[in-house]
Symmetry: C2
Subunit: 274 residues, 2 copies
């Protein structure tokens, strides 16, 4: 009997699934060899009663924003995870990794938890009506509304962080107030049912924190052991509080145009809404 | 002008590319909206002279093993990154995320750096002749031979860790000696041109360490800032040295079959080779 990584992590794997639907024909044709197929099932037949997590994926997203929570969410007990694309077609991360959503926004079921990571592509999403309406329309049904990195800015643009404390990538903190959110410089910020993580690697801290909130600390602790999350960063430059002014200036210089674009979009949206 | 995340990280993005080839027709059809297209180019026309990184991807791999280095490698100056599949078809991570290789083992160019991550799927690779021959045949040309998590076991099965110190996932340390490797309980182990990372999240430490080796500490430090890698794990259970015996037993119990299978395969291989 082959044991899956889910089992290695010691969680309720039998009932944890990542749903493939819509592009299933393409996937089924291409991947006949997967032996630990319990993770792959048909959404329409198995979504009943399970906790539904929708992780919105998009062109130009940062894989590592998603990858932390994506090691965790599908291993939560009685949970189904959907990778939700605007449409049901191939997406590329910001380093060019091609991957597939498992369902489109139009076809996604009712969701108990909404998630979006960040990346360059968020600048496009901030004024993409379909994406913003998806979040705005799905939020009232969701028990939890969550993000990592600049995904928070998309939640903000969708009107979901008004009056909430939130985290985002350190370079985007100044954007949050345009959407009525209060920036907090923490790895993970929990404000009522909004849970937001900081930049990129904060997704791991975010995912484990959420696992503990949803299912208690023991499960989250066992996941942390399974992921061998005992970090020893080679340098002490992981936040603007710790990095030298030279490194900060390097980062800000290199992203000056991106910052300017994001700020212009945020101002435009805030002005439009009065 | 749209600035990419590569630029945000302050690295030599103009010359950093992730190559798409082989399944390009599918990708080109499906992803017309990518605006930061410098990352996507045709391997045959652009591989000349650049540092070629081959990251082997496989069914049942752990996305997070790959995701750390994959935020880093494509942003190194004058570097091209290939996601190399056994064949050129859709692959699923161990949580079911469907994604595409960018090239097949047969079509991959000469590689300066070989990389493989871990996951359940490695148990299959350990006796897969095509995969083992790929590593064995490509290794003599490679300047660096690297892994994260149980990817090290695959390198070992391919005969590439004989006489080397190496790291792997904490549950697989005892397998390394069957392939002549000396297990070392560190996040990253550098022994001559073999660089191996520990389990899952160690891939981030591994990637930054490698960036520093290849291009110096300033670039690596700026990447660490860009990835906001200032970890604050919610628990202190990320290694067997820190976790309680209860958590360790949980993890070992849940993966008893996987450990047994891996050990049986390793013994079989070692015996076959005398």
């Amino acid at each position: 009997m082959k044991i899956t990584r889910r089992q290695l992590l010691g969680t309720g794997l039998a009932s944890s699934t990542l749903i493939l639907q819509g592009c299933a024909a393409q996937i089924t044709n291409a991947a006949p060899t997967r032996s630990e197929s319990p993770a792959i099932s048909n959404a329409t037949s198995t979504t009943a009663k399970k906790f539904q997590i929708g992780m919105v994926v998009f062109e130009g997203m940062t894989n590592l924003d998603l990858a932390g929570p994506l090691e965790i969410f599908p291993r939560l007990p009685d949970t189904q995870v959907h990778l939700i694309g605007r449409e049901n077609k191939v997406i590329h991360t910001d380093t060019g990794m091609p991957f597939l959503p498992t369902i489109s926004m139009d076809d996604a079921p009712k969701l108990d938890l909404l998630f979006i990571g960040g990346g360059d592509g968020t600048n496009t999403l901030l004024e993409d009506e379909k994406t913003l309406l998806f979040f705005a329309n799905r939020a009232p049904d969701a028990k939890w509304i969550t993000s990592v990195c600049t995904g928070a800015i998309v939640l903000g643009a969708a009107g979901l962080l008004n009056g909430y404390k939130a985290a985002t990538h350190w370079t985007a903190m100044d954007i949050l107030p345009y959407f009525g959110a209060e920036p907090v410089h923490q790895r993970v910020v929990v404000d009522r049912n909004r849970i937001t993580g900081g930049g990129v690697t904060a997704g791991i801290d975010f995912g484990l924190t959420l696992a503990a909130i949803l299912h208690g600390p023991i499960l989250a602790q066992s996941m942390q052991l399974g992921m061998e999350y005992d970090p020893q960063p080679p340098f002490n430059t992981g936040s603007p509080k710790k990095a030298s002014q030279e490194l900060i200036n390097m980062a800000l210089d290199y992203q000056a145009d991106a910052i300017q674009m994001r700020l212009a979009i945020a101002k435009r949206i805030a002005q439009r809404r009065g």
